[in-house]
């Protein structure tokens, strides 16, 4: 019984610590028994499900959990807060990364050199642990530390495959990420100077008191935070690292980077905007308008750039830029419908984009083809993969009965509630643009005739392993199920939104 008590009392920190522990043990395991690395990584995720199950039960029955590390209460100790928003992110991160990991255990054996295969799981578990830490953190410096862990491990899972594009893309990502983190640290310094607290709740109170004495500090801090998070979440115009990084990385890395990593920064930004900065500030400074404009540009240009791409993973990467624009649109609208739509889109896009990247990975695994033009007729040879891709494409465009439609519906209603009809037009036009670059692939795959130049250029298809097709099927089913019954996930999101606004 004491074991259960331990879990019950300390789930929050055990969740993150378990990931860190497993990732530290991984290099040892790699030397000793290399084949167990993948299993250990999966076991870490299963353990995480146990903790998250416990946390969700507690949050639903008791309300927000405040966990103090080491028993030191804030402001002297570090605090983790698990409210509905954090719970939502934890559930999203754990489920999607679990499915990506299962896919990766097979795919990576072909993409990476054997001696780095075990080390990949180290970086992967570090990344997932850091993202979970970012979801629950309530402390400035804690946030900084987890951000850095996430940045290094994210760059790591790109450069672990040592092709020239991977290394270059990883370097660019690292440099830009360092700029972003630098800006964030500087703004933490500015806020600490006047507030004297690092805990979000205490800092908010302190900043509220001194806002009229030191307005410049707060303004500059807000600006630097925005810049930092815009770099990390790849919003236009600071998105330049994303296409290279996501397209050259191994497919599971692309999936987790596009699906989860850029999203967690939007959630942290949301937490900062609403929990730390005083409300009056937003009347003085049009932060939300600026976010809206940047998100509109992001949506528009992401889609436009995606249309002209030839490589399938690069196109998916540009599509991610557009989709993160939707999430920021939800944040920028600042009303409950819009915010619900933005948060729901985090969940939906995590599922859709992971599924799309994993199917692209499956196609590359089985046929070695990356150019869109060469993918004619592949639908008949790989029906499961292309079926998943088709569901993902339909969800991205926003066809009803898929989950993408529900989040776009909420966003559209949010724009109407906020009386910003221009953004409604942006949403609709961008859905149409999405269709322009997704449907040709689907059409080509199912109805195109494979080019037979000498009669021998037929695409050679390897068989798809079960461990790769099962995550695709689960994600595809998830897209459709959450398209028809979104209320299961909406329950959490709506309570989260209520607490924020």
């Amino acid at each position: 019984m004491t074991f259960i008590n331990v879990i019950h009392a300390h789930s929050t920190v055990l969740l993150i610590v378990s990931f860190l522990l497993f990732s530290f043990l991984m290099p040892i395991l790699e030397r000793w028994k290399n084949s167990w690395c993948a299993t250990m990584a999966v076991a870490a995720h299963v353990l995480a499900f146990v903790f998250i199950g416990n946390l969700s039960w507690r949050v639903f029955t008791e309300g927000t959990i405040h966990y103090e590390l080491g028993g030191w209460s804030p402001p002297w100790g570090i605090e983790f807060v698990v409210d509905y928003l954090a719970l939502f992110m934890l559930i999203t991160i754990s489920t999607v990364s679990f499915l990506i990991l299962i896919f990766g255990t097979v795919d990576l054996t072909h993409e990476l050199k054997p001696k780095v295969l075990g080390l990949y799981y180290t970086l992967y578990l570090l990344l997932v642990g850091a993202m979970m830490g970012l979801a629950v953190t309530n402390d400035f410096f804690n946030m900084f530390v987890f951000m850095e862990i996430a940045a290094i491990s994210a760059c790591g899972i790109i450069s672990v495959k040592s092709d020239r594009e991977c290394v270059e893309a990883s370097f660019k990502y690292l440099m830009l990420s360092a700029v972003g983190t630098g800006c964030v640290l500087l703004s933490v310094a500015l806020l600490y100077m006047i507030g004297g607290h690092l805990n979000f709740a205490f800092a908010a109170v302190a900043i509220q008191d001194v806002a009229h004495i030191y307005p410049n500090n707060i303004l500059v801090a807000l600006a630097l935070f925005s810049v930092g998070f815009i770099v990390k979440a790849a919003l236009f115009p600071l998105h330049v690292w994303l296409p290279d990084a996501h397209s050259s990385a191994p497919s599971p890395s692309s999936a987790i980077l596009s699906g989860l990593v850029i999203k967690i920064y939007t959630v942290v930004y949301l937490k900062l905007l609403y929990k730390v900065f005083p409300i009056e500030l937003f009347d003085l400074l049009p932060v939300f308008d600026m976010i809206l404009i940047l998100s509109a540009l992001s949506i528009f240009f992401g889609s436009i750039f995606a249309i002209v791409q030839e490589d399938i993973k690069r196109m998916l990467a540009f599509s991610s830029i557009a989709q993160i624009g939707y999430v920021f649109l939800g944040i920028g609208l600042a009303n409950s419908t819009g915010l619900t739509g933005g948060l729901l889109h985090i969940f939906n896009h995590a599922m859709m984009k992971s599924m799309l990247f994993l199917s692209a990975g499956a196609i590359i695994y089985c046929t070695g083809i990356r150019k869109i033009d060469d993918l004619k007729g592949i639908g008949l040879k790989m029906p499961v993969v292309m079926g998943a891709f088709t569901i993902g494409a339909m969800a991205m465009v926003g066809i009803p009965t898929t989950n993408g439609f529900i989040s776009k519906l909420y966003l559209a209603l949010g724009t109407l509630d906020a009386n910003k009809h221009f953004y409604l037009a942006i949403i609709l036009i961008s859905s149409f643009l999405n269709c322009l670059y997704y449907f040709p692939i689907v059409i080509n795959a199912f109805f195109g005739e494979s080019e037979e130049e000498d009669g021998e250029e037929e695409i050679q298809v390897k068989k798809l392993p079960l461990r790769m097709s099962v995550p695709l099927i689960i994600l595809g089913a998830g897209c459709m199920i959450f398209g028809i019954f979104p209320k299961y996930i909406l329950v959490i999101i709506e309570r989260a939104v209520e607490m924020i606004l």
Partner: protein, 127 residues
């Protein structure tokens, strides 16, 4: 009217902040304009150093001593929190630098040059 003496005095009093801002700009500028990859990494380091300087200097209390408590003696101590935080930050910066430099080594193996523009040219001509 701007009183230059007054401004100079205030700048001098806040010398740490001024220097850290100048360093930040130098570091950022280096990162952006120099095309040698190692110089970019150095620029990142200068930028991080500037931020650390800024943060640590906020912890200084006039007339305070190092925060080691001697029992029985009442003294003003400087704020230990920023120094602790910056220790972590320095460690992080070092790890990022190490990682970045190892990436630079790998890039050099692939391309044979450390110049970013040269690399762009090689990539665009061959792809």
């Amino acid at each position: 009217m701007i009183d230059f003496a007054d401004v100079a005095m205030r700048l001098f009093e806040n010398m740490y902040y001024l220097v850290s801002v100048i360093l930040f700009v130098i570091g950022f500028h280096t990162m952006l304009t120099h095309s040698n990859l190692i110089k970019k990494v150095i620029g990142m380091n200068i930028m991080d150093t500037a931020i650390f300087l800024f943060f640590v200097s906020t912890g200084y209390v006039q007339g305070g001593v190092a925060p080691i408590i001697e029992p029985g003696v009442e003294q003003a101590y400087i704020n230990p929190l920023p120094t602790a935080l910056i220790l972590t930050g320095i460690v992080v910066a070092v790890s990022v630098t190490a990682f970045a430099l190892s990436l630079v080594v790998k890039i050099y193996e692939h391309y044979g040059t450390l110049d970013a523009e040269e690399i762009m040219r090689i990539r665009s001509t061959e792809s």
